[in-house]
């Protein structure tokens, strides 16, 4: 494979991991807020038990994504940075409020509720804002008056694809986090909670799918070239498979379970829905090639030099070799160990 394709694949993998992990993380924060007054089930405490050890690690994936992008595509990072300065800064502000208030809420019991509302709501908005990068990268929202660059806020706000993308971001976040938490709750033997999150996932699944389709269709007037790419035969196959994975994953919520009175196999639902997202996001991202930013920047223009590329590759290989055992240990301690889950 050519170096540039390897680099693209790595970036895509990081993007995919963060899209999943970040959605679950922010969604769990939202559910922790949503259920905080409900004392008869463990819905909020299960969400918190998932979040407490994992949010810092999830945040590092965001930084990893940014740093990997700057390293592999310095030209792209520079242009995207200029373009996205306002939405990214808003994300950064929300992210800071969210993390800080989440930590505060564990420290000062008297204000836990208030602090949790801050962190839950700000977290809810982050994926919605982050995803606006997709329509913006397709181009057309920036004005250059020769001296300064401005985002065309009115144009952005009046385009339908902007809203369908935001809706897609919100729905995805809530859907994925419900799915994961239903699995997590079942692992913790909290059936009450399992059913709460399973019900959420049942409602949100079709909504997410509808927004995904709408997001692609509202692209047509905006970026016909991209729509054309998406509907070529290779990507149509990917999208078909993706749809199939969705159907399997969604139906797993009703699969019979081994023990009595239990319905659904949330583990399979999580796995198939993640596969579905992987296929769909691969189809979408590859359809944007060769452009990073349409029509100015192609991946070729933005790519780093060969020497740096090699070094970074070694760096990732070495770093992963060190970290993977730690990740496995982490997983066992917090996602598997009954002593933690049943606390």
């Amino acid at each position: 494979m050519e170096s540039i394709n390897i680099a693209l694949l790595i970036i895509w993998a990081f993007l995919f991991i963060y899209a999943i992990a970040g959605s679950i993380d922010f969604g769990a924060g939202f559910w922790a807020m949503y259920y905080q007054n409900q004392t008869d089930t463990e819905s909020a405490s299960i969400a918190n038990r998932y979040l407490s050890p994992s949010w810092e690690v999830t945040n590092v994936f965001l930084v990893l994504l940014v740093v990997a992008f700057v390293g592999f595509f310095p030209g792209g990072a520079a242009n995207l940075g200029t373009l996205m300065i306002v939405p990214f800064c808003l994300v950064l502000i929300l992210l800071t409020i969210r993390s800080a208030f989440m930590v505060y809420s564990h420290s000062v019991k008297r204000y836990t509720r208030l602090f949790t509302i801050f962190s839950g709501l700000t977290g809810l908005l982050i994926p919605a804002l982050l995803i606006t990068i997709l329509p913006a990268a397709i181009g057309g929202y920036v004005m250059n008056d020769g001296v300064n660059q401005y985002i065309l806020v009115d144009k952005l706000f009046s385009s339908s694809t902007f809203y369908t993308h935001i809706g897609f971001g919100l729905a995805t976040e809530l859907f994925l986090s419900s799915l994961l938490l239903s699995d997590y709750a079942r692992e913790a033997n909290s059936m009450e909670t399992y059913h709460t999150y399973r019900r959420n996932a049942m409602t949100l699944g079709p909504i997410t799918l509808a927004f995904a389709v709408a997001a692609i269709y509202t692209l047509i007037p905006h970026a016909p070239w991209m729509f054309e790419n998406i509907t070529d035969s290779f990507r149509l196959i990917l999208l078909g498979l993706s749809f199939l994975a969705f159907v399997i994953g969604y139906s797993a919520l009703w699969w019979p379970a081994k023990t009595r009175r239990k319905i659904g196999q949330p583990r399979y639902a999580v796995i198939f829905i993640i596969i579905q997202f992987g296929l769909a996001s691969f189809a979408y991202s590859s359809a944007q090639l060769p452009y990073l930013l349409y029509p100015d920047i192609t991946v070729q223009d933005a790519f780093t030099n060969e020497t740096m590329f090699r070094l970074l590759l070694f760096g990732y290989a070495g770093g992963m070799a060190v970290l993977i055992p730690v990740f496995i240990w982490f997983w066992r301690l917090f996602m598997k160990d009954k002593r933690y889950l049943l606390k």
Partner: protein, 450 residues
Amino acid sequence: MDSVLLSRMLFGSSMAFHIIFATLTVGITLMILLAEIMRLVKKDDDYALLAKRWTKGAAVLLGVAIPSGTIVAVMLSLLWPKFMEIVGEVIALPFQIEIFAFFLEALFLSIYVYAADRLGPVTRLIAVFFVAFGASASAILITNAHAWMNTPRGFDLVDGQVVNVDPLAAIKAPSFFVTANHVVGTAFMTGAFVLVAVAAYKLLHNHLSKREIAYHRKGLFLSLVVAFIMSSYTALSGHETAVMLYEELPIKLAASEGLFNTTDNAALTIFGTPSVETESVIGGIEIPGLLSWIATGSTDGVIQGLNEFPQDEWPPLFIHTLFNVMVAIGFTLLGLAALGLLFWFLRRKQEGVIYPKWLLAAYVACGPLAIIGIETGWIYSCTGRQPWTIYGIQRTVDAATNSGNLGILFFLFSVLYIVLLVITGLVMYYYFKRNPVTDEFQSTNDQLNV
């Protein structure tokens, strides 16, 4: 205001905010590690309690350090796009390795905090070791990029294009080793002094039980020893850094000292205001020959003055004051730490609080002073590099974004930082007030009986 100035203000304030929390987590995680070691060595549960309460504080600080670090990392690309283009081509590696250090720290911190009851003593120690290791490693790695900006190596810029890239030469920038040494030493020193301040504040209270006094005395002594060692180290590494400036960045040294004309037997001027008209420092205390002696080891050493360089490359002259404040804080804190150890040595057989009240009061001031040292040091270093972002290669005006939306963003971030500073302070204060250490004496004993 133009976008360059706004970019500088926005980025500078963001870094100044991040560095408070980042430095403290680097310093305090080392102290937690040491407390855990002491606990194993001395078999004394007060150290376990110290580690536990310090960890609680560190967790809150990290809750701000992590998102504020994310802010600065993303802001680099947002505000300095042309700079990051060069960074990506030449010095991307330390940024990348730093990610792995972050992962280590975040993973092991969760393990240490949330799985502590399921780990044996040695595994706990390993976990907390990697937390401290990850924090220090991230400080060293980011300093690598900073050092490269001061003494850039490993590439050429031809017509705006980066060519002849040699990433390893960039990493081995000549100022890296000395600078990293100084940065990490000062972070350890600051963490230790903040904990000295906390313990001293507690010991100033009347009506403490014997148990409490014994507990805070241990906290104070352990922190004081580290504070003394690290402030000695800081004085040495600071001296090395000044020598590095003499060799690599003479213009910065000249501006730091307000030295206009090249001379041998150059004087060290303490405080005062450098004046371009008189070409001297007005109102400063001069110690003849000392600057030559510090930089070159002999009073005959020739030090280049600002006039050797074109005036449009001079850094702002107020960095002289920043430099002096940093050095003054360094020697004050070193002296106070040494005094505390002396008191301890003379009165170590006594019961109760062995330090006089005035010394404890001075120690309370040491925490904030150390943080001011960090702030002035960094602002001095970054502002002293002006007008360059990459010294001698890329000017700050050429690195900045041309975005027109910066004014409102600067306002929003400023509000955010002020609010967070206040709330974080209040949260820490109330947490430790509501959960006094006396409540915990009983519960640790219980735990040990289980």
